[in-house]
C-alpha cells in the first residue's frame, strides 16, 4: 500500500529555530529516511518553503481566482498533490489553471515553492 505522509507544525516556531537546531532536525529526519530508502520503501521527499511564499488558485464557480497566501479552508480536505518543475510562478499558475479547467467541480490548488527535494530515494 502506498501512503503519503503529510507533516504539520507551527511555521512561526520553525522559522525561529536557530540554524543549528534546523540542521539537527534535518539530520535526524535524514537518518529515518535513509533507513526506509534502503529498505526500498521511500518515495519522493519534499520540504516546503513558508506559506508566506504561497499562492492559491481557487475556483468556486466559473473563472478561478488567483489569491495570495496559502489555502486555509478547514471545510475542505487535502485530496492530492503534484510536484512540477517550471520556470516561474506564471507557469505554475497556468498548470494549476489547466487542472482546474479539467475538473468541473470547484476546489483550490495551493502553489507552494519547494525548498528541499529528493526526487527518488536511492534504492527505489
Amino acid at each position: 500500500m502506498l501512503y503519503a505522509v503529510l507533516c504539520y507544525a507551527s511555521e512561526d516556531a520553525i522559522c525561529s529555530w536557530t540554524k543549528e537546531q534546523d540542521e539537527e532536525v534535518m539530520r535526524n529526519l535524514f537518518v529515518v529516511q535513509e533507513k526506509y530508502a534502503k529498505a526500498g520503501k521511500l518515495g519522493p521527499v519534499a520540504r516546503l518553503l513558508p506559506t508566506t511564499a504561497a499562492t492559491t488558485l481557487r475556483k468556486v464557480k466559473g473563472e478561478p481566482l488567483v489569491l495570495d497566501g496559502p489555502f486555509a479552508e478547514t471545510k475542505e480536505q487535502l485530496l492530492g498533490f503534484y510536484t512540477i518543475d517550471v520556470a516561474d510562478l506564471e507557469e505554475a499558475v497556468a498548470f494549476a489553471k489547466e487542472l482546474s479547467d479539467a475538473n468541473p467541480s470547484g476546489g483550490s490548488y495551493e502553489i507552494r515553492p519547494v525548498g528541499v527535494f529528493s526526487p527518488v530515494a536511492p534504492t527505489i
Binding site: 522559522c15 529555530w17 537546531q21 508566506t52 495570495d68 506564471e90 515553492p113
Partner: protein, 422 residues
C-alpha cells in the same frame, strides 16, 4: 517532556503577537514587556513537564495578563488612585482572547507595536535597537554586540528611546485604512533598516551582525502574514531573502569584499533564492510596482543568472529606470550606470555619471565606480585619481582594501602597457 532549547523558538515566535496584545490591555510598554517576561518564566517551568500548549501564544497572553493584573492589584493596595485606564480593559474572559487572536484585531496590535518602535522622533539606530529589544526580544547584550558598542551604552540608548516612546502617544483605536497603510510603510522601512544594519557589516563583523539580517527576514515574513496581499511587503521580503542568500559568498577568507561577478555562485543559498523568487513573481502579478519590488526584481535577475555573463543587464537597466522614476536619487542613477556599463559599455556609463559628480562628491561608491569605468577605458591616470579619492572616503577597512586591490591591478596594467611601448 520538552527540552528547554526547543521552548525558546516557541517563545520567540509568540513574542510579537503576545507583547502586542498585552500592550493593548495595559497600554504601557513596560507593563506589557514585564507581563510577557513573567509568562515566559512560567512557560519554562511548566512546558518541559506538560509539553507546550496547543496555542502557545494564547497561553502566554492569558498567563501574562493574569500575572500583570495581580501585580497591578498588589501595587494598587499601596496606591490611593489606581489608574482607571489601566484597569478598563481587563474584563475579558479567556475565550475572548482566543477569539481575538483569530480576528483582525491582532493584526493592528502587532502593527501598532512595530509602529511605536519606528517613531519618527527616534533616530534610525534607536528605532532598530528598540525594535530588536521589544519585538524580537534580543537581549541588550546581543544588540550591543550587533552594533559593535558596549552593553551599558546600548542599555542607555534603549532606555532613552523607550522614554521618548512613552511620551509620544500612539492611539489605541483600530486605525483607518489610510493610517494603516502609512504605518505599514514606516514599519517596512524600519525592517529594511534592521536588515541593512546587518548587511552593511564588513568582513570580520559578519558573524556578529548577520543575525540582524535573519531577524529582519523574520519580521518581514511576520508582516507578510499580516498583510498577505501587499505587493510591497512581498517585494521587501523577497529583496531581503535574495540579498541575504549571497552572504556566504560576499567575503573571502580574509574578510575581503568579493564583487558579484567574482562570487562563487554555488555558495548562494538556493532555498532563500527559491523563496525570494516565488515572492517577487507573486508581487509582480499585482501590477502595482514599488521601490522594494523593483529592487527585489533586480536582485532576482542576479539570482537567476547561473554565471555572471548570463545576467540580463539590459533588463536591470530598465528596472533601475523604473526605480529612478519612483525614487529619483543620484545613488540609483549610479547603480543604473553600472548596469549600463555592462550592456552599452563604459563610455555610456561614464557619460551618465559625470553629471552626478557634484551631488556625490563625498560618496565612496561614486569614485569606486568612476575609477573602474576609467580603468576600462584605459584612462589610467584619471582612474588612479578617482581610486585615491575613494580610499579617502572609505567607510571601512574592507572598502579601502578593495580599492587598493584595484590600484594594484591598475599599476600592473600601466607597467605592462609602458613595457610594450618601450
Amino acid at each position: 517532556m520538552t527540552d528547554i532549547a526547543w521552548i525558546d523558538p516557541l517563545l520567540t515566535s509568540a513574542r510579537p503577537q503576545a507583547v502586542a496584545a498585552l500592550l493593548r490591555y495595559f497600554r504601557d510598554l513596560d507593563t506589557a514587556e514585564e507581563a510577557f517576561q513573567e509568562a515566559c518564566l512560567r512557560a519554562l517551568r511548566n512546558w518541559p513537564e506538560n509539553g507546550p500548549p496547543r496555542d502557545p501564544t494564547a497561553w502566554l497572553i492569558f498567563v501574562g495578563r493574569n500575572t500583570a493584573i495581580d501585580a497591578v492589584r498588589r501595587r494598587a493596595k499601596n496606591d490611593p488612585l489606581p489608574d482607571e485606564r489601566v484597569l478598563s480593559d481587563l474584563g475579558d474572559a479567556e475565550a475572548e482572547i482566543a477569539e481575538r487572536l483569530d480576528g483582525a484585531d491582532y493584526r493592528d496590535d502587532i502593527l501598532r507595536l512595530l509602529f511605536i518602535c519606528c517613531h519618527p522622533d527616534l533616530p534610525a539606530t534607536q528605532q532598530i535597537a528598540v525594535a530588536l529589544r521589544i519585538v524580537s526580544g534580543l537581549s541588550v547584550r546581543q544588540i550591543a554586540r550587533a552594533f559593535l558598542v558596549g552593553e551599558s551604552a546600548m542599555e542607555q540608548r534603549i532606555t532613552r528611546a523607550k522614554g521618548r516612546i512613552a511620551d509620544a502617544s500612539v492611539p489605541f483605536e483600530a486605525p483607518g485604512p489610510v493610517e494603516r497603510s502609512e504605518r505599514l510603510a514606516s514599519v517596512a522601512a524600519m525592517v529594511y533598516l534592521v536588515f541593512n544594519e546587518g548587511y552593511s557589516a564588513s568582513g570580520g563583523d559578519v558573524p556578529m551582525r548577520a543575525p540582524l539580517c535573519d531577524e529582519a527576514i523574520r519580521l518581514a515574513r511576520l508582516l507578510l502574514r499580516l498583510f498577505p496581499s501587499e505587493p510591497e511587503i512581498m517585494g521587501l521580503t523577497a529583496l531581503l531573502l535574495l540579498q541575504h542568500a549571497r552572504v556566504a559568498a560576499r567575503f573571502d577568507a580574509d574578510g575581503m569584499v568579493v564583487l558579484l561577478d567574482d562570487q562563487d555562485r554555488t555558495k548562494w543559498n538556493a532555498k532563500m533564492i527559491a523563496e525570494g523568487l516565488a515572492l517577487i513573481d507573486k508581487a509582480m502579478r499585482h501590477r502595482r510596482p514599488g521601490a522594494y519590488q523593483i529592487q527585489a526584481a533586480i536582485a532576482a535577475l542576479h539570482a537567476r543568472a547561473r554565471r555572471p555573463e548570463d545576467t540580463d543587464w539590459a533588463q536591470i537597466d530598465l528596472l533601475y529606470q523604473g526605480l529612478e522614476a519612483i525614487q529619483p536619487s543620484p545613488v540609483v542613477t549610479l547603480n543604473r550606470a553600472v548596469a549600463v556599463s555592462k550592456s552599452r559599455g563604459a563610455q555610456a556609463a561614464l557619460d551618465m555619471i559625470e553629471p552626478l559628480a557634484q551631488k556625490l562628491s563625498g560618496y565612496f561608491h561614486f569614485f569606486g565606480v568612476k575609477g573602474g569605468l576609467l580603468m576600462q577605458l584605459g584612462r589610467h591616470a584619471e582612474a588612479r585619481a578617482a581610486f585615491d579619492r575613494a580610499i579617502s572616503l572609505a567607510n571601512s577597512a574592507a572598502e579601502a582594501a578593495h580599492i587598493r586591490m584595484h590600484l594594484d591591478r591598475l599599476a600592473a596594467e600601466t607597467s605592462k602597457a609602458s613595457g610594450k611601448a618601450s
